[in-house]
Amino acid sequence: MFDSLSLTRIPADDEALRAPVRAFLDKALEGVAPEVRARSWGGFDAAFSRALGERGWIGLTLPKEYGGGGRSLYARFVLVEELLRAGAPVAAHWFADRQSAPHILKFGTPAQAQFHLPRICRGEVFFCIGMSEPGSGSDLASVRTRATRNDKGWRLDGQKIWTTNAHRSHYMIALVRTSGDAGSRQKGLSQVIVDLSLPGITIRPITDLTGDAHFCEVFFDGVQLTDDALIGAEGDGWNQVTSELAYERSGPERIYSSVVLLDEWLAHLRTRREPSQRSLALAGRVLSALAVLRSLSVSVNGRLAEGESPIVEAALVKDLGTTLEQFIPEAIADALGDDPDATLPDGLARTLQYVSQIAPAFSLRGGTREVLRGMIARGLGLR
């Protein structure tokens, strides 16, 4: 069962990327507070993204002819691992880098690729992912936003929600209905690239429980798209979106969301002369789990690098990973609360508060735990 997930080596020349990336990040993030770094791929900083773009660290795996780095998925794994380790504010370019750009390369026309990819690689243009709608979350195939053919191209009507960074992005790749109705399910879905500056689009940020506003409601009211807005084949949207999700679910961001908190806590333990046995046992447990998860994540990355589409394996590693991500704040809070009279360093206290509050999102974004477990069950032959 899942025998394909074997210990996988990152090639040495890809591993060699780690040192320059780390040197850059150490400098760029010097003095940034841990509760800010803990946001990492939720943290938006356009200037930072452009600085990465200048170094060739966006679109690392894209072909050089499109401004990419022409590197392997292993190199990207190393880059991403370093960005997450540092808690870099990568949200601006994250979604384009992770999924929109590879998606355009795979399904788009040469003209679409020529137009979008170089800008993405320079960190000038940001994308968001328009899948969820008010009535369509886990049941994504029920989307109602509709693109209707007309003489100028497509007319777009409907609404998306939870669209991360829609208010700060230039484009959205939206999953829309181009024929049939919600009852037609997977049939009749397509994907379109939407220029978010077009008339008829209203974007409203939604504030989350920590006070951040990263995701949005997006309304489309008679938005006129040109003919070339369609990406891939009309009616093939469901297949396309499924292949996109393997990229969305497999990365190290699904195991490291609490790692800045973990590091703050480990650094705090170091300041003790003798940490409690309980704290040490917890540290050892988490470090062991991380070693195994990281190995599994590299191995899924290896499957992707081989050109496979390990959808079930990615779901499996994401569920294991987000479980650890959510365990970390809960367990650290409990361990620290062992000594109710001790004062915590401010940075640790604020980071713990932030990560504890946002942790429920870890197993929702990118497909809920229950949905992933359903996919794994299908992989086991149970559905």
Partner: protein, 273 residues
């Protein structure tokens, strides 16, 4: 990680170490015949250097053999004997004939290495038995019907099996890390990390498989118990998950890395496979 010796040895155990054979040995009916076949196969000297008559394999190459012991609930210390012979051979000592436990190593190895070896062997056997109980549970869920449908069509059962699959996968990777060595001995940290994770997985797989099987799973007559009893025993033999988590933490404490990823990457860097 899978290889030809693994397949050949697995076939041997599938033929000779059947559930009936396991029960017979547990009843005290004697294991000489099975042991004889295992020795004849030559695998027991897999880790002994070629100059001393062995196959000169390294630990990562014999992982499939040890996993197979777990998968087939082998009631004999084949893995321990294989490891002890290798240690004694490297120490230029004689090894006793017949099956032995790691006690046979005596002072031929520092206690830390012996502990790590024990952890690695139990981890790999957990990975094997985990795969077995997962397969049995899936098969049962597909075949047993209640309320007019296979119980595997109920979402609560599906999710339980999915979680078991995740932990079986984690145990398998933990075993690969524990055995990721080019010598006959595991890396101490990787073995500690592996056992900490596999020990937790063992509990999930044992509990989950019994839940899915219902009452039949706890009968002596049904085969599931052959594997779950061992999963629970291997979980603590050679050190419980907490014991090994503490060892990992001590290594972190005595090292210089504060960042979790730095420590993890440094230790994963010791993997040879």
């Amino acid at each position: 990680m899978d290889n030809e010796f693994g397949d050949a040895f697995g076939q041997l155990l599938a033929d000779r170490c059947t559930p009936e054979a396991v029960r017979g040995i547990e009843r005290g009916e004697g294991a000489d015949a099975l042991w004889h076949d295992l020795v004849e196969s030559g695998f027991v000297d897999a880790l002994v250097p070629e100059a001393q008559g062995g196959a000169g394999l390294s630990l990562h190459e014999v992982l499939p053999l040890v996993q197979a012991c777990g998968y087939h609930a082998l009631p004999l210390p084949f893995a321990e004997t294989m490891a002890a012979r290798a240690v004694l051979a490297h120490a230029r000592r004689q090894w006793p004939d017949g099956p032995v436990t790691l006690d046979a190593i005596g002072d031929a190895l520092p206690v830390e290495d012996r502990g790590a070896l024990h952890a690695a062997l139990t981890t790999a056997q957990i990975a094997g038995a985990a795969a077995r109980v997962l397969e049995m549970s899936i098969a049962h869920a597909q075949q047993r019907t209640q309320f007019g449908k296979p119980i595997g069509s109920f979402q609560a059962v599906q999710h339980q099996l999915s979680v078991m699959a995740e932990h079986a996968c984690a145990a398998r990777m933990a075993a690969q890390l524990s055995f990721a060595s080019a010598s006959h001995l595991p890396d101490r940290t990787l073995a500690a990390m592996g056992k900490s994770v596999a020990g937790e997985a063992a509990a999930v797989l044992a509990a989950g498989s019994h839940a899915v099987h219902g009452a039949i799973g706890i009968t002596a007559e049904f085969d599931l118990q052959l594997y779950t009893r061992r999963l629970l025993a291997w979980r603590v033999q050679g050190g419980s998950p907490s014991h090994w988590a503490m060892q990992v933490a001590r290594q972190w404490w005595s090292g210089s890395h504060d960042r979790a990823i730095d420590f993890t990457l440094e230790r994963l860097g010791a993997a040879r496979f």
